[in-house]
Amino acid sequence: MTRFFANANYDFLGVRKYAYAVTAAIILPGLLFLLVRGLNYSIEFTGGTLLQITAKQAVDVGAVRGALDRQGVHGAEIQQFGSANEYVIRARVAKAGTDANDTQATASEVGHALDNVLGKGNYTIQRTEAVGPKVGGELRQKAFLAIFLSFFAVLAYLAYRFEWRFGLAAVIATAHDIIATIAFIAVMRLEVSLVIVGAVLSMVGYSLNDTIIIFDRVRENLRKHKKETFAQILNRSVNETLPRSVLTHGTTLATLLALTIFGGEVIRPFALVMFFGVFTGTFSSIYIASPVLMAIEQRWPGPDVRGARTTSPKPVSPAPAGVARKARA
């Protein structure tokens, strides 16, 4: 049988200092970027009007912007979107002097400007989004609530299934993933929409899976290999789950690749965020979750002699330690 990383024995914990440096090198510039330029929120969150059109010929972007400016809709963004004659027009600021929560005033103004510049019938509207700032604020609030509450729900579940040391380590790793992903979104200037929030949450779930699978192995190995140090157990567990990680990340990245290439403009940012999430999730499971777990065990030792408890709600029958040794030798 083909087997990647069969009997791998890398010293993952030994190089953790370098891993921290890598994380810092990625996250810090990202956060700096975030602070300086902020996030690029979508219309859903800021309120505003979005029109996606297909024109019969190439559009003079400047002319459309000028027409909108003259009609009191200032600072509109006009971008090419996907194929040649597809454009997206975003007007975040409502037409001067109108009630921004009454979305139709601005939306119809954008329509007028297009009629004037392109001519009626020379374009078709594919998609319209018009969101008042009130609704936008509500959606933003809900998105943050979703992220925070799911974070705590998962923490509670981990605390129930594992003991708190494992749970805390997993949550720190997850927090790292969220921060890294937000930094990634900021650097890539991806538009933060509800779909992106969905991607961040899915990424959190995915990365957590990875951490859980390693920790599951740690729990089991603590029982199996009574003579090894905690660091050895961690290294062993990461190494043993390495083939699984490679395979699962491989199939996941394969589908994400398909989505990025063939899924279309709306889905691409989602796929990109997940793509990044697979990498940061793998990285954090190995280089953040495990070392943090070790640090926690050193700071607050558990009842196990090596500083870790082996209790679990569903005890798995331990295999004889001697057999395991022989096979690995």
């Binding site: 018009a130 609530l145 509800l194």
Partner: protein
């Protein structure tokens, strides 16, 4: 209970048959109004019974709130309920398949119309107030008498004929005189548009399209144009602003309707705003009210807007309406809306019209006079008609249905609109399917390349996974959205994770020197902990997404949860069964293809 292979196979067979059964394309009756004849028509379409979200099938999502900028609601809770009932009736009449109309929170109504092809029209039907009034035109020459007084008030406020209080806006007078530079003119027309957008919100179609009833179209003579110029001339004479801009219609374009005035279309927004000043309004005698015509009229080369002085008291309103119907007038072949009043309304209408024979009656829809007021020739009973000049039957149908469904208590404003064209939706589905096929092909390659025959088993299970997921979505009546479709494609890559975990575990057990059968058993047993833990955490995040997300994202969460349940069945239960069969058939097998 599931211990024997036979029982396991029965369970799998039941699941497969159930999934296939709920997914078999079936006939769905779509009830739609025929755009030509206006008759409700049922069309039968065969389709896979999975609900597609608006982003996949095209359609419109609107969130509406009471617009209290012009009219303050005394009881918003009651008004939103009333509006909900009215919208339900209207959309029912409009003929959309499976519309969603619901109240969200205390003050918002969400309307979702799938597959509509004319979003502007649907929006107009939702937003039109449809408040119908009948009023007698004023015979006391109240406005003419009040005009000098109004101008005195305006002068007192600093509004003069030529240079206006608002310097930035070129005065209507300047436009009439044509002294403006082209740029200025442009500015003014955009300004004019500002004001009219407000009107459009109220009844977009009405103001723009419903034209004159019984216009005395013929007499657009040179005389009219002359007078227009004369009217313009008089403005330079230091006099009242309004007096110069508001002309009795009889003097300009002829006609003998009392209380009828003409204002140049270019001056219309300015006059409207002046007349709406509370100080000016106060000078108008009690019992008289002003209303503009719904659309401009051309007299000669000039475009004018009729202004009517009317008795404030309506003789009857749309609340007395029992039925309204769009028809083609047998005489002119133009579209008309015939209506029937209820008993009480009919009696009142008859009494009032009996008293006013020889007077003119204005038909006012959402504050705008429809066409020129016709003369009351005799007592009118319960039946009447509104003539729409030169517009399509569809306009008449839309008017009839909104009238019939009743008026909105307070106008509604659209606080959120999402609309996706059907072609874009179809395009998204196509792209999603392509991505899904390519993704699946890659996963098959990886799994079979790495795990050989065991990989084939997991791919068979993956096929069942896809079948179960769609089956579950159909059975639950869940909605598949674009993010949901993306999530589904992604989950194909993640769904094999359970199999990867199991297979890796089996390999480890085999390496420990255990027998094949024992290794398989132990592999499944040991992998379960990790599989359950990781799936539960994913379900938890999905539940929060479902709770807080909007339509498309909700769809994503549902698909995610459905996918996890399906993958637990296919990757664990089904693959286990396959192994059991395999090992049963080849008890002497010495190496497992894994």
């Amino acid at each position: 209970m599931f211990a024997t292979i036979r029982n396991r196979l029965i369970v799998i067979a039941v699941l497969v048959i159930g999934s296939v059964f709920v997914l078999v394309p079936r006939s769905i009756t779509l009830r739609e109004r025929d755009p030509q004849t206006g008759v409700m028509r049922d069309t039968v379409v065969k389709q896979v019974p999975i609900k597609r979200g608006l982003d996949l099938q095209g359609g419109m999502h609107l969130a509406l709130e009471l617009d209290q900028s012009k009219q303050v609601s005394s009881d918003p809770k009651r008004d939103i309920e009333l509006a909900l009932t009215v919208l339900r009736k209207r959309i029912d009449e409009f003929g959309v398949t499976e519309p969603l109309i619901q109240k969200v929170g205390d003050s918002r109504i969400v309307v979702e119309l799938a597959g509509i092809t004319d979003p502007a029209r649907a929006k107009a039907i939702v937003q039109r107030s449809a408040f119908l009034e009948f009023k007698i035109t004023d015979k006391t020459r109240a406005l003419e008498k009040a005009l000098p007084g109004m101008d005195r008030t305006l002068r007192g406020m600093g509004v003069k004929g030529v240079d206006t209080a608002t310097q930035k806006r070129p005065s209507a007078v300047e436009q009439l005189l044509g002294t403006d530079s082209i740029k200025n003119l442009k500015d003014t027309t955009t300004k004019a548009r500002d004001t009219t957008t407000k009107a459009k919100e109220k009844g977009k179609d009405t103001t723009k399209k419903i034209a004159t009833a019984r216009v005395k179209g013929g007499d657009t003579t040179a005389k009219g144009a002359d007078t227009a110029e004369k009217a313009a001339d008089t403005t330079s004479v230091p006099g009242g602003v309004l007096e110069s801009l508001v002309q009795p219609a009889a003097a300009v374009a002829g006609g003998q309707v009392p209380g009828e005035f003409l204002v140049a279309e270019t001056a219309f927004p300015r006059v409207d705003s002046l007349l709406n000043l509370p100080e000016v309004r106060r000078t108008l005698p009690r019992g008289v009210t002003l209303r503009w015509a719904a659309s401009p009229t051309s007299v000669g080369v000039q475009s004018y807007r009729y202004l009517y002085a009317l008795d404030e008291k309506s003789i009857v309103t749309g609340s007395n309406l029992e039925d309204a119907r769009a028809q083609l007038d047998p005489l002119t072949n133009g579209p008309i809306v015939t209506f029937e009043l209820d008993r009480a309304g009919g009696r009142k209408f008859g009494e009032e019209t009996g008293k006013h024979v020889g007077d003119y009656m204005a038909i006012i829809l959402d504050g705008r006079v429809q066409g020129r007021p016709p003369v009351i020739q005799s007592r009118i009973g319960r039946n009447g008609q509104i003539t729409l000049g030169g517009k399509g039957l569809q306009e008449a149908q839309d008017l009839a249905l909104t009238l019939k469904a009743g008026a909105l208590p307070i106008p509604l404003k659209i606080v959120e609109e999402r609309q996706v064209g059907a072609s874009l939706g179809a395009d998204s589905i196509r792209k999603g399917i392509t991505a899904g096929l390519v993704g699946t092909a890659l996963v098959i390659l990886i799994m079979i390349g790495y795990y050989r025959l065991s990989g084939v088993l997991s791919i068979l299970a993956l096929g069942l996974y896809i079948l179960f997921t769609f089956g579950g979505l159909a059975a639950l009546g869940a909605t598949l959205t674009l993010p949901g479709l993306a999530g589904l494609v992604l989950s194909i890559g993640i769904a094999v994770d359970a199999n990867v975990l199991i297979f890796e575990r089996i390999r480890e057990e085999l390496l420990l020197g255990k027998t094949i059968r024992l290794s398989v058993d132990e592999g499944f047993k040991h992998a379960m902990n990790a599989i359950i833990d990781s799936n539960v955490s994913t379900v938890l995040t999905a539940l929060f997404l479902f709770q807080f997300g909007t339509g498309p994202v909700k769809g994503f969460a549902v698909t995610l949860i459905m996918g996890i349940v399906a993958s637990m069945i296919s990757a664990v239960f089904v693959v286990r069964t396959f192994y059991l069969i395999w090992l049963d058939r080849r008890p002497t097998m010495s190496t497992l293809s894994i």
